[in-house]
Point group: C2
Chain length 200, copies 2
DNA sequence: CGGCGCAAGTGACAGCCGTCATGCGGGGTT
DNA sequence: AACCCCGCATGACGGCTGTCACTTGCGCCG
C-alpha cells in the first residue's frame, strides 16, 4: 500500500485527484492540504510514503516545501505536479531532491504510475522538460531577478530603487543587463521571457 | 441520469474530474475533449445534457464554445469551471447563456451539486463573483483593449501602430486613455489590472 | 602591501512614454 | 445647412527608459 499526502490549492482539483488516486487498489490517500504550511504540518502528523504537491500555493510553494523536507531529512518521497513547463522550476525541484516532476498536461494514468515508480525508489521526470532543463541555464543573478520581478509589476526604476535601497541609476543598469542577457527589447519582454522559463 | 461531456485541456485534471463525476450514481460522463474544437464535434455526436468546460483551452475557448452553442440553439446546458475569478469572464459567460460558473477553488462536491441544479433547470453561479460582476463594468473600448493587449506583450507604441495600421501618436493616445481609465501609473500596471479583471 | 574582482553608483545621451491641447474629416441629427 | 460626435492624427513637453563608459568603495587573496 502506498500512503499518499496531497497538496494542491484548488479545492476542485484536489478533490478530483484524490478521487482518482483512491480508485487505485494499491494507493491510499491519507489526507490533503490546500496550502504549503498545512501540508508541512500534515506531513509530520501522517508520515506518508509520498507527498504529491502542486507548485503554486498560497504561503509556502511546493518547491519550498520540497526544500524544507530535504533540509529536515524527512524520509518521504516528493512528486511535483504542476501546470508549468518551466525549466527553471524543474531544476529547482531536482536541487530540492524531488523524485518526480509531472505536468498536469500529462495523462491522468501517469500519476498513479509515477507514484509506483517513485515508491519503488525510481524517478519520474517529464522527459521533454528534462531535456530543456539541461540545455538552458538561468543567466540572471539575484539582483537582476529582483529588479525584473518588480519591473513586471509595473514599478518604475525609481520605485524599484526605493524598495531595494539602490540608486535609480543602478536599477536601470541591472534592468539593462537583464534585457541584454535575455535578448529582449525592453523590460516587459524581458519579464515575460524570464517568467516563462521559470527564472523568477 | 445526467449525461455529461467534459472539456478541459489539462489531461490530468480532465481525468481526475472524470473520475470524480463517475463516482456519482446519477451522473454519467459520456466523454471528454482536450480542446474547444474537439468538444464542439463531440457535443454534436454525443448530445449530452450538460457540457462542463474550462475557459482556457487551445483553439476555441470555453467562452467561445458557449457562444457557439447559443448561436446554434443547441439544447444542452453549459457549466463553466475555471481558475479565473474574473468579473469580465463571468459577464461574457452569462451573455453566452451559460447556466453555471464555478471556480476550481470551490470544493469538489459543488460540481456534482451544480450539475444537478442546472439539470433541473436552475443556475449555479459563484456567489461572490456574481456580486463583483454586477458592480464593475469594463471601461475599455475596442481600440484600447487591442492596444493594451499588444503593449502587454512588450511591443512599443511604434510596433503596435504598425500592427493595427494606426499612427504612432494615436496608439499613445489610446494607451494614455486606458491608463487613465484604469487608474494605473503606466502601461504595465494597466495591462495587469485589465487582465486580472478579465477585460482583455 | 598591492592588485583584483565585484557590487553599486554617476553622468550623459538618444529615444520612448504619458499627457494634453488641438485639428481634421466623415456620419448622423435637428 | 449647421451642428456635434467620433475615430484618428499631430505636435510639443517633461519625465522615464535603455545604453554605455567610467568611477568608487570594499573584501579577498597572494
Amino acid at each position: 500500500m502506498i500512503r499518499v499526502l496531497l497538496a494542491e490549492d484548488q479545492a476542485m482539483v484536489r478533490g478530483a485527484l484524490s478521487a482518482l488516486l483512491n480508485l487505485e487498489s494499491d494507493i491510499e490517500v491519507l489526507g490533503s492540504a490546500a496550502d504549503g504550511e498545512t501540508a508541512w504540518r500534515e506531513l509530520q502528523r501522517l508520515k506518508p510514503d509520498v507527498l504529491v504537491t502542486d507548485i503554486e500555493m498560497p504561503g509556502l510553494t511546493g518547491l519550498e516545501l520540497a526544500q524544507r523536507i530535504q533540509r529536515h531529512e524527512l524520509p518521504m518521497k516528493v512528486i511535483i505536479v504542476t501546470t508549468f513547463a518551466r525549466p527553471g522550476f524543474l531544476r529547482r525541484a531536482l536541487d530540492a531532491g524531488v523524485s518526480g516532476y509531472l505536468l498536469k498536461d500529462a495523462p491522468a494514468e501517469n500519476l498513479a504510475e509515477a507514484l509506483r515508480t517513485v515508491h519503488r525508489g525510481g524517478r519520474a521526470i517529464d522527459p521533454q522538460l528534462a531535456l530543456v532543463a539541461w540545455t538552458e541555464a538561468d543567466p540572471l543573478n539575484d539582483r537582476e531577478r529582483q529588479v525584473l520581478r518588480l519591473a513586471g509589476e509595473g514599478l518604475s526604476a525609481g520605485d524599484i530603487a526605493t524598495r531595494l535601497n539602490l540608486s535609480h541609476g543602478t536599477v536601470r543598469n541591472y534592468l539593462s543587463e537583464a534585457i541584454g542577457k535575455l535578448g529582449a527589447g525592453n523590460r516587459i519582454e524581458a519579464f515575460r521571457l524570464a517568467r516563462q522559463k521559470g527564472w523568477l
